[in-house]
């Protein structure tokens, strides 16, 4: 037998004996359930049962009333298979919450943990796990800081139904990007998400790309000469090799400038 494999087997059999023993004893002795997060194994929520959304409306009438226009209300359907879809789809079984008269900690609050949101938005779990992301997994920022699951459009600003614009959602925490600037960057009018993915990317500052391809997505133009990369009518071949467009004094004022039309600084 391969010596390495033999060592592994020996470690598993003999080194793992305490573990096997623990497993055996606990299998015989214990009958207690474990739940995968975001459900709770213990604490005030343990053992809660589903009560239905009508119970929630007793106290949260305003939330339930406005929910009809929310993006999440599209999940509501008639039929036997969809009968449990409602408030408790995200907040978990509510019987303990109802019994306690609405005590904090007796029901899942997705504002305090994104695990509930990730149950459907599984792609966002991966994005928030990246090193360059809003610190949602660290509990410092919540999905609900930017999204309203109970009312209107899913993003707090933007769309025809909202008074506030989508960028206002970002400006509430990033006021230095609001402007207005004497020389603005038209990309901001399109959206902050032209350059950033607010959930997270592999690149610093949640940029959608770390090099000049980010800027060239809008600033590339028809090229009429070989060996050149003309941007705004000017050859940038000698500049692009040096770094990103916004490095070291070329176009630093990416959100807008009070001094230069070329957003130099």
């Amino acid at each position: 037998m391969n010596p390495r494999l033999r060592r592994c087997l020996n470690a598993l059999l003999y080194g793992g004996l305490p573990l096997w023993g623990l497993l055996f004893v606990s299998c015989v002795m214990v009958r207690r359930p474990m739940f995968s997060p975001p459900q709770f194994t213990a604490g005030p929520m343990a053992g809660a049962q589903f009560v239905g959304s009508k119970e929630c409306a007793q106290c949260h009438e305003e939330k339930v009333r406005s929910f009809g226009g929310a993006t999440h209300s599209k999940l509501l359907a008639p039929g036997e298979n969809a009968k449990n879809v409602g408030c408790e789809s995200c907040h978990g079984p509510g019987s303990k919450h109802v019994q306690s008269g609405g005590e904090a900690g007796t029901i899942i609050n997705p504002r305090q943990s994104p695990a509930t949101c990730f149950e459907c938005h599984a792609d966002k779990r991966g994005e928030f796990a990246l090193a360059n992301s809003h610190p949602v997994l660290a509990g410092k920022v919540s999905c609900a800081d930017c999204h309203n699951p109970h009312q209107g459009e899913m993003v707090i600003g933007g769309g025809a139904r909202n008074l506030a614009s989508m960028n206002d959602t970002c400006f509430q925490c990033h006021p230095s990007q609001r402007g207005p600037f004497v020389f603005e960057h038209e990309a901001l009018r399109e959206n902050c998400t032209t350059c950033h993915n607010p959930h997270g990317t592999v690149n610093a500052k949640m940029l959608k790309s770390r090099n000049a391809s980010l800027c060239l997505q809008c600033h590339f133009q028809q090229q009429t000469a070989t060996g050149q990369i003309v941007i705004g009518g000017r050859d940038h071949a000698g500049s692009l090799i040096r770094g990103t467009c916004w490095s070291a004094g070329c176009h630093e004022a990416v959100h807008g400038s009070h001094v230069n039309s070329s957003l130099r600084f």
């Binding site: 039929g79 769309g159 690149n203 391809s213 060239l216 590339f220 990103t244």
Partner: protein, 677 residues
């Protein structure tokens, strides 16, 4: 921290009488925890990824107290975790259906790694400041609400938002220490931020009327920015110098809004809203070269180079006036159909003017400082109409359909002027008309196929078209100030689709599968040129989650995300594609080992492999990185009230892009005691 210390005695004073009375039901939870890490390697990188201080943290993780009397509720919630600088103090006193008062303070710290770049052919890298950077965010607020007899709600709130500290920047400085390859921008840069916003809001409304709801509010926000960016250029060379860009802006924002909703029968609901916003800013700032941070401008600064332009004594004002009106309806002509049309109109007018002293440098070898009075002005007018219609159908059992169309038509004008030497030289005189149209069509369906099997799909197509017409433009061809007049057309087109399946394959196995695909194209037409495909973005994300409980006492959950994300550029001869691919996943297991003891095992890993070394020809960045983490957790439920938690973790991070400069290994320990009372 100071605010926390000063607020705590007041909170205790509030708390004491509540606890002392006889007819009070009091309950709550207190959790005390501490953690730390033994690290080997780059500690700022550890802090950024795990958002905990490298030297450890500990304190009251959570304290919740609810005290109820017959018609009053007092809640108190606190956290005090020195080390992580994570504090929360919230007190709320509510007299049911009468009034409430709440006040609180929260604070947390976000860590950044201030690493710069790495130039592989010569192994060039720089550490020019302590890369251990962090920003403290804080919120202090007080709010009072009153309910009148007819359920009208009046609310007053004061909020103070703060952001202070240092964070990394991607505005890297340049170096010539790259052999024969020429200059490269890899020198790290950092921001020093100090931002404060004071917000006062007043809201009054009633949403408890039988067939109507209304709301009127006003908001005043005063923001003060005192932000600096420090860029080091050509360190370890004779031209070593620091550029400090200072933004000292004060903004007053005043916004009023109103909203009215009326219900006619069960079928029709109409709402209208209005928002008027005024923003007034005073602008100050500078960009000055020197040998230290925050230098005073020195025309004879000995290390000045030819392109060391900057400015000082920037003074200006900016105004923004915005009016938004919208009208929404929800009409249900039958039980299973609903139609929701929306209209929105926005008028925006903004103008700004800034005067500054521009600092230029003459040619080598004298590098004579040249000062010019400069002035920039802009005025922008913008009108935008948008319409949307959403139709929902719920007539089939276990099925939902919705379709939505959105249209936007915007038009406006931008005038920009740049003057030098008190108007003697008009370097920019531009008048640009812009038209913008947008269309978006989306479809959503959910199918609850059988108990435990749900399929959902969403698709949207969106196209934005921007047309620019430079009515007046004095910028000569081949110069650097051509935008935005240089643009003639720019179109954005996006297809986005996702589907999700939730399947309870067996009573013990839940599976969630999700696939997201998005493709965007940008077409750009420059002045006198044909439209070019300037970018193509493609993203595929496959996500799989599984939860398995083979017995009631064990759960296993696994999550995997596989992402292919590429920003394709046609300029591939000069710039590499933006590759942003990665795989990450996690595996968790919970096991009820004894009557009082649970064991949890959590593992996670991340891998990105995007680095392509084209250092000789272009900036090589593409992230290549590996991370693995394994945590073992023991939870002991000593009683219904008392729970102990102990955790040990081992983490490794390997960074290929920076050739190991950001690598680390860490042993992480954490303990918590939780008591319900």
């Amino acid at each position: 921290m100071h605010l926390f210390r000063t607020s705590a005695p007041w909170a205790l004073l509030l708390l004491a009488p509540c606890l002392a009375a006889d007819d009070i039901v009091t309950r709550g939870t207190i959790s005390v925890g501490a953690g730390g890490a033994l690290q080997d390697g780059d500690r700022p990188s550890f802090q950024q990824i795990f958002q905990h201080r490298k030297t450890g943290y500990g304190g009251i993780e959570d304290f919740q107290l609810t005290s109820e009397r017959k018609d009053t509720v007092f809640t108190f919630n606190a956290r005090a975790m020195p080390g992580d600088d994570n504090y929360r103090l919230l007190a709320r006193f509510e007299k049911t259906d009468k009034a409430y008062f709440e006040a609180g303070y929260t604070q947390y710290r976000v860590w950044y790694d201030g690493s710069g770049g790495y130039f592989r052919p010569t192994g060039t890298e720089f550490t020019v400041f302590d890369e251990d950077l962090s920003v403290k965010r804080s919120t202090l607020w007080a709010e009072v609400g009153l309910h009148t007899a007819n359920h009208t709600m009046v609310k007053l709130r004061y909020e103070r938002l703060g952001r202070e500290g240092t964070k990394s920047s991607t505005f890297w400085g340049d170096t010539n220490l790259t052999g024969t390859f020429g200059g490269r921008g890899i020198v790290p840069t950092f921001y020093a931020l100090d931002e404060v916003t004071n917000v006062f809001t007043f809201d009054i409304g009633n949403s408890a009327l039988e067939n109507a709801a209304w709301h009127v509010g006003a908001r005043y926000a005063e923001t003060t920015l005192d932000n600096r960016r420090h860029t080091r250029r050509r360190p370890q060379e004779t031209a070593d110098r620091i550029v400090t860009t200072h933004d000292d802006t004060k903004t007053d924002l005043f916004a009023t809004h109103g909203y009215y909703q009326r219900q006619w029968g069960e079928k029709l609901s109409v709402s209208a809203g209005a928002l008027i916003t005024n923003v007034d800013s005073t602008i100050e700032g500078s960009r000055i070269y020197g040998q230290t941070f925050d230098p005073v401008y020195d025309p004879a600064y000995v290390r000045r180079q030819q392109r060391d332009e900057g400015y000082y004594d920037l003074e200006g004002t900016a105004e923004l006036k915005q009016t938004v009106l919208n009208l929404n309806a929800a009409y249900a002509p039958s039980k299973h159909w609903s139609i929701r049309p929306s209209l929105r109109f926005e008028n925006l007018h903004q103008e700004s003017i800034a005067e500054f002293m521009e600092t230029n440098i003459g040619p080598s070898p004298a590098f004579v400082a040249i000062l010019e009075d400069g002035e920039g002005e802009h005025e922008k007018k913008w009108d935008e109409f948008s319409e949307a219609v959403e139709i929902r159908h719920t007539g089939l059992p276990n099925l939902t359909f919705s379709a939505r169309g959105e249209w936007l038509q915007g038009s406006g004008n931008l005038e920009e002027t740049r003057l030098l030497e008190h108007g003697a030289i008009v370097s920019i005189d531009r008048d640009t008309d812009t038209e913008r149209t947008s269309q978006k069509y989306s479809f959503t369906s959910n199918w609850y196929a059988q108990p435990g099997l749900t399929l959902a799909a969403q698709y949207y197509y969106k196209v934005n078209q921007n047309d620019y017409e430079a009515r007046r433009d004095n910028t000569p061809a081949g110069t650097s100030n051509r935008y935005p007049a240089y643009l003639a057309n720019q179109d954005f087109e996006t297809h986005d689709f996702n589907m999700r399946m939730f399947w309870r394959a067996t009573p013990t196995l839940n599976l969630v599968t999700r696939y997201d695909v998005q493709q965007s194209k940008i077409h750009t037409g420059g002045e006198g040129l044909l439209m070019a495909d300037s970018s193509k973005l493609t993203s595929h994300i496959v996500s799989q989650a599984a939860t398995f409980s083979p017995t009631a006492r064990v759960y296993l959950n696994a999550n995997v995300n596989v992402t292919f994300d590429q920003m394709n550029t046609p300029a591939i001869a000069f710039v590499q594609h933006g590759d942003n691919n990665y795989v990450n996943g996690s595996l968790g297991c919970g096991f009820a080992a004894a009557k009082k003891d649970d064991f949890l095992v959590d593992a996670s890993w991340f891998r990105a492999s995007n680095f392509i070394d084209r250092s000789e020809f272009t900036q090589p960045y593409g992230v290549s990185m590996k991370q693995q983490a394994l945590y073992l957790t023991w939870v002991r439920r000593e009683s219904d009230r008392l729970i102990y938690t102990m955790r040990y973790g081992y983490i490794t991070a390997r960074d290929g892009t920076w050739v190991g400069r950001n690598d680390f290994n860490a042993h992480v320990v954490y303990g918590k005691v939780q008591y319900h009372f």
